[in-house]
């Protein structure tokens, strides 16, 4: 781009941009350096600080709870991709069919859950799962499957799935709207032409619709991975990582270590680790899926 002849003087631009850029750097960039610095110390927030060097990082690698939350986060993220993007993708294919009724109604209704805060979703599902007032158990009793009733949020074996369901449920609509809008932007005559050429129903899905939203699908998977990796609100509200540590995920563990156990230095080291892991994950998924979406 050639230089704009109307461009104001440098000091003017600088003055105008000072506040927005300053606030942003203060919130997003400087904390990274804080984390890197304090991660080298044993520090509980008070006066005394002991220099440890890389010891905190070595400790993390030997920390069982860290690996457990890492594993839980990985499982959780996988469930989210399969659940959210998977269900939304299948629904999107259905929505392109002529015999699918009320698609606009479905889109609007399924999106409602997205605008509600994760905290309220978590609290609501806590009640839905609860024994006393829960409609889930009530429903199971009504259809005569009392043997399926579980202490949904208190059984270490299933708790990770129990907390995954509300999150999947909440965000299916999001990906559905993204993918259906991607299809809506495809020129109608392409689909009609395919129909004329004899590609109807599933054939049209496989040869026309899927290739056309393939890029969107990849973007959805990337967003979903990045989003699920930092899930905090839902789990914090529903189980707080429990029972024991069976639904502990990385972001929640980071919070626990820093604010419940007051191990600030260790917490900072964890923050750096999480930052690095998720950056690698984001970049990795981008390379793997070959997107060039964010430039």
């Amino acid at each position: 781009m050639r230089k704009n002849p109307l461009q104001p003087k440098g000091w003017k631009i600088g003055t105008v941009l000072l506040l927005p850029v300053g606030v942003y750097i203060f919130m997003v960039i400087i904390p990274i350096f804080f984390a890197a610095y304090y991660s080298l110390f044993k520090w509980s927030g008070g006066k005394s600080m002991t220099f440890l060097g890389m010891q905190n990082y070595l400790d993390i690698l030997r920390d069982d709870t860290f690996w457990l939350s890492f594993r839980n986060t990985a499982v959780f993220t996988l469930l989210m991709v399969v659940g959210q993007v998977g269900i939304a993708f299948v629904f999107t294919l259905f929505f392109t069919m002529k015999w699918m009724k009320w698609t606009e109604f479905h889109r609007r209704v399924m999106f409602i859950t997205n605008i509600i805060s994760a905290v309220v979703i978590g609290l609501l599902w806590q009640i839905i799962y609860s024994n006393q007032a829960g409609i889930l158990n009530e429903f199971l009793r009504a259809i005569g499957r009392e043997d399926w009733i579980r202490p949904w949020l208190d059984d270490p074996k299933i708790v990770l799935f129990s907390v995954a369901v509300p999150v999947i449920w909440q965000f299916v609509g999001y990906y559905l709207v993204i993918m259906t809008s991607a299809i809506a932007s495809v020129p109608k005559d392409i689909l009609e032409m395919a129909e004329v050429d004899g590609a109807s129903g599933w054939k049209r899905s496989i040869y026309i619709t899927i290739p056309m939203i393939y890029d969107t699908l990849k973007v959805c998977i990337m967003i979903c991975i990045a989003g699920s990796f930092k899930t905090f609100d839902h789990i914090s509200v529903m189980t707080g990582g429990g029972p024991g540590n069976s639904s502990m995920v990385l972001s929640l563990y980071n919070y626990d270590v820093s604010f419940s156990m007051m191990k600030m230095g260790y917490g900072c080291a964890l923050a750096v680790m999480i930052l690095v892991i998720s950056l690698l994950l984001t970049l990795g998924s981008r390379l793997l899926l070959g997107g060039k979406r964010y430039e």
Binding site: Y24, P31, I116, I135, F259, C268
Partner: protein, 280 residues
């Protein structure tokens, strides 16, 4: 043969329709259940959790607003969200405008800096942000949460603004100058009104994200008087865990502004919230 296949197809179509409908209903029924239960008496509710509110009563709402600090938290979230929206618009429009119109030292870097916020998982900065705020004595002020809220809304808003302003012809700037505008008048009185469609998207997304935010209000605010609705509703739940219908009323209150917005602007909200993914 053909007939059998056709019958099978119809059956399949019906089943798929039914399944999608059930999923749709599952999205809205818990919310309706919550609203319905909030209008009932707790004793009545404990007898049967799925009964309809035969005689809707609003005493739970009155009580929820009177007991505890829920009303206070509601107002706190209200002014925080509104200020977040205003600041986000001013900031993102300024940055978007400067970066898309002019080339200056660091202009590319500034744009990338904001866009990188979509990649950096800001949530993992919880601990260092807390330390930073503590060192600078920024915890527990009425304006504390504006820092995270505005910053988190910035990446997407800057991206959208930049993309939009690029499409506004530069001849307009010249014309504005010719008509005697100064720089700020040109920016805010000529270009800004043209950005209305994208500004409304930024209003919606930043308002919803500020209203719904939880982790940073959890760590940066300890003062009861400054609690946001996300924190308030949690404490409310812990204090009234046996009075379910009262609790439901509080939950409904906490999502009411968003639900009302959605009822009016559902199309814009759907478009706005997914725009980042489509454009990004």
């Amino acid at each position: 043969m053909n007939k059998v296949m056709k019958a099978g197809n119809t059956c399949f179509h019906f089943l798929v329709n039914l399944m999608v409908m059930l999923f749709s209903l599952s999205c809205i029924l818990p919310i309706l259940w919550m609203i319905n239960s909030s209008l009932r008496d707790n004793k009545d509710f404990m007898q049967s959790v799925i009964g309809l509110a035969a005689k809707p009563a609003f005493h739970n709402y009155v009580e929820a607003l009177q007991t505890g600090d829920l009303w206070h938290c509601f107002l706190n979230s209200g002014y925080l969200s509104i200020l977040t929206v205003i600041l986000t618009i001013v900031f993102s429009f300024t940055v978007g405008f400067m970066v898309s119109r002019y080339r200056f030292f660091g202009s590319r870097l500034i744009y990338l800096l904001f866009i990188s916020g979509m990649v950096i998982p800001i949530l993992s900065l919880m601990v260092p942000v807390f330390i930073e705020f503590k060192k600078l004595n920024l915890l527990n002020h009425w304006f504390t949460l504006l820092f995270p809220y505005v910053s988190f809304a910035m990446p997407l808003s800057v991206l959208l603004m930049e993309n939009f302003i690029k499409t506004i012809p530069r001849e307009l700037d010249e014309a504005a100058y010719m008509e005697g505008c100064n720089f700020f008048q040109m920016m805010w009185k000529v270009i800004f009104p043209l950005c209305k469609p994208i500004v409304s998207v930024v209003v919606i997304t930043s308002f919803i994200s500020a209203w719904n935010e939880y982790p940073f209000s959890l760590i940066l605010i300890g003062d009861e008087k400054l609690r946001t609705i996300s924190i308030g509703i949690r404490f409310f739940g812990q204090a009234h865990s046996f009075n379910y219908t009262l609790y439901f009323a509080a939950l409904v209150i906490s999502i009411a502004p968003i639900l009302i917005l959605y009822a009016i602007f559902s199309k814009h909200i759907m478009q706005g919230m997914t725009m980042g993914a489509v454009k990004g």
